[in-house]
């Protein structure tokens, strides 16, 4: 059953309260972020229907939005998603090599997830870190000035966290 916990509901209510009476639909983007973070890192149709119900809007209004914005995942992703920027400024500083190196190291191509479900590699467009290129987003934070060595240590770091959490 898809359902927010008490704390998640408190956050939901805080988000909705920011908009005028009757304009609760405005909270849709932040609520979808909350739902994605709360229910396994992606938005299943059950999750989207639940959000529609909570906001008292039609499911199609949620699907429209979820499919438009690139940060919403419509299928399951790995526990650690490497979102590597590939736009001009990052390309000028060697992002192609970083993307290829991550792919080789993890044995996956952009868009794929490793068999153990730990890593997803995704290429993305400019994330506003062009001066600190090459870079990627990992969860909430950016990892910048990437080198092969840095990529190795990030992968090791993720494996360590995953191992201690198991």
């Amino acid at each position: 059953m898809i359902k927010f916990s008490e704390t998640q509901l408190t956050e939901f209510n805080r988000l909705v309260a920011r908009y005028p009476e009757g304009k609760q639909k405005s909270a849709l983007l932040p609520v979808l972020h909350l739902a994605q973070d709360s229910f396994g890192g992606w938005l299943s149709s059950d999750t989207m229907d639940y959000v529609a119900e909570l906001l008292n809007i039609k499911p199609i209004e949620v699907y429209e939005v979820a499919t438009f914005y690139s940060m919403y995942n419509l299928k399951p992703v790995g526990k650690y998603m490497f979102e590597v920027c590939q736009t001009g400024p990052c390309m000028l500083r060697g992002s192609d090599d970083i993307i290829a190196y991550i792919g080789e190291t993890l044995g996956i191509k952009p868009g794929e997830t490793t068999a153990d479900g730990l890593f997803t590699l995704k290429t993305v467009e400019c994330l506003g870190a062009c001066g600190y290129a090459p870079m990627m987003q990992l969860g909430k934070y950016y990892r910048e000035h990437l080198t092969k060595e840095k990529v190795d240590s990030i992968i090791a770091e993720c494996r360590n966290i995953a191992a201690t959490n198991n």
């Binding site: 906001l55 914005y69 690139s70 001009g88 400024p89 000028l92 506003g128 870190a129």
Partner: protein, 451 residues
């Protein structure tokens, strides 16, 4: 050292916190504005300052504010555009990350001037950690009586809310941003009506860039006339530039708009020159959508005069030989870089970000991407170059929002100035897969015929 109005205190230890920001003179602007000035006189000061919108279009901020409709009984809103997604641009992030209270202070003054009791910061979804920084600053400002009900006993109420986007460059366009704020897809609206008349929830709305709203603080503190004395001509005040690409010191710099491009690029105070001892090939001075310039047209105008870092000088020569200040994203290419490939990544970007409402933009961006991919891979034909030119011409000016133009201009400028590099990718297809075209003649001195 040039004048610093925004980043002067960026390196003060703890400036992110209310205590330090306040100790350093913060929130004096709010006190002055709310206690000694009325909304109209604030708008007047901003008009006098000559401040131009820092989001890209450069429209005078005070004038924009004076357009806001004031129908009886209808709430008005100020929305801060922190979507910052134009490739090459990362200045708003810097400002919010290091000086959150400067933005909040600017927002309080501007909200008072416009009569906005609920002000929204729409921030790109990827800047997730900055949301925490901003919300903390908002809480601190509120705890100290600068936000909430009856601010400083003036009867003015104001709340600031931070809303995250979710990955869509188009939501930086102000009407798409408004749609997104209403919980919808980011499809730009047809104007008119303009947001100043019917914006978010059909209410009068002003959308301004982060840097524009932060600049209101020094304007109020020093007065509009004093602010206008900094800079040159219609480029008043200071400008944040985010510099990236093949330079020694990528980063965010506050410039006084009287310095030359050469000084910005080569002096140690700013970019520190081209990295790895290479030579300059080309530069996109104002974010991915403005025209790329070869080295020789960047440092000097076509008339052979020094080019300066301001709105007028950067656009000197129009699209034929000039570029634009845009959002201040300064992207530098060294002699080893490939203009075709760089242009391809931008075409891919605009295809990815097109909202799909208008056929010229939706179809044209995809077509340009395919052609550029083919050229870059050495599989192009000479006729593809003319086809690209033709497609970009058909997008420009034929769409609902300026994303179409933003997608067309980089392709047009690349072909205009680097046509021989494009041709070389076709005539020397195999070689183009193993090496780049190089500096060629792009840094050659321009010969200006004497009349």
């Amino acid at each position: 050292m040039g004048v610093k109005l925004l980043l002067e205190k960026a390196h003060v230890e703890g400036i992110r916190t209310y205590e330090v920001y306040r100790r350093e003179g913060g929130y004096r602007g709010v006190e002055k504005a709310l206690k000694t000035m009325g909304p109209e006189s604030i708008v007047d000061e901003v008009k006098k300052s000559g401040l131009r919108g820092r989001g890209g279009a450069g429209f005078p901020a005070g004038m924009k504010w004076s357009f806001i409709a004031k129908p009886e009984g209808v709430p008005r809103h100020l929305v801060c555009n922190a979507d910052e997604s134009e490739p090459g641009t990362f200045k708003d992030r810097y400002l919010m990350e290091f000086l959150p209270h400067l933005l909040i202070e600017g927002l309080i003054i501007s909200s008072f001037a416009l009569g906005s009791n609920d002000t929204y910061i729409y921030i790109r979804g990827e800047y997730a950690w900055i949301v925490d920084i901003l919300e903390q600053a908002i809480d601190e400002a509120k705890a100290n009586g600068f936000l909430g009900k009856n601010i400083l006993g003036t009867g003015f109420n104001c709340e600031i809310h931070v809303q995250r986007g979710a990955g869509a460059y188009i939501c930086g366009e102000e009407t798409a941003l408004i749609e997104s704020l209403e919980g919808k897809r980011g499809n730009p609206r047809i104007k008119p009506p303009f947001p100043a008349i019917q914006g978010v929830w059909q209410r009068p709305t002003v959308v301004n860039n982060v840097e524009t709203l932060a600049a209101v603080v020094p304007i109020i503190n020093m007065g509009g006339e004093e602010y206008a004395k900094i800079g040159v001509g219609k480029s008043t005040g200071t400008k944040l530039m985010s510099a990236c690409g093949n330079i020694n010191k990528p980063g965010v710099y506050e410039i006084d708009m009287t310095i030359s491009v050469e000084e910005f690029l080569y002096s140690d105070e700013y970019c520190g020159g081209i990295a790895n001892g290479k030579r300059l090939k080309a530069c996109i001075p104002g974010g991915s959508s403005v025209p790329i310039l070869p080295a020789n047209l960047l440092l000097k105008t076509a008339k052979g005069e020094t080019r300066y870092m301001n709105y007028e000088s950067l656009s000197d020569g129009g699209f034929a030989t000039g570029s634009m200040m845009g959002s201040g994203g300064f992207i530098v290419l060294d002699e080893d870089q490939c203009v075709v490939k760089n242009t391809y990544t931008f075409a891919r970007f605009y295809r990815h970000e097109s909202c799909g409402q208008c056929s010229p933009c939706r179809e044209g961006t995809g077509w340009m991407e395919k052609l550029l991919y083919r050229l870059e891979k050495g599989q192009g034909k000479i006729s593809d170059i003319d086809l690209l030119w033709d497609i970009q011409r058909k997008i420009e000016g034929n769409t609902i929002c300026p994303l179409g133009d933003a997608a067309a201009w980089p392709v047009a400028a690349a072909i205009r100035h680097f046509r021989d590099e494009f041709e070389w990718h076709i005539t020397n297809a195999a070689e183009a897969q193993t090496r780049n075209y190089g500096l060629a003649h792009y840094a050659d001195e321009i010969h200006v015929p004497t009349p």
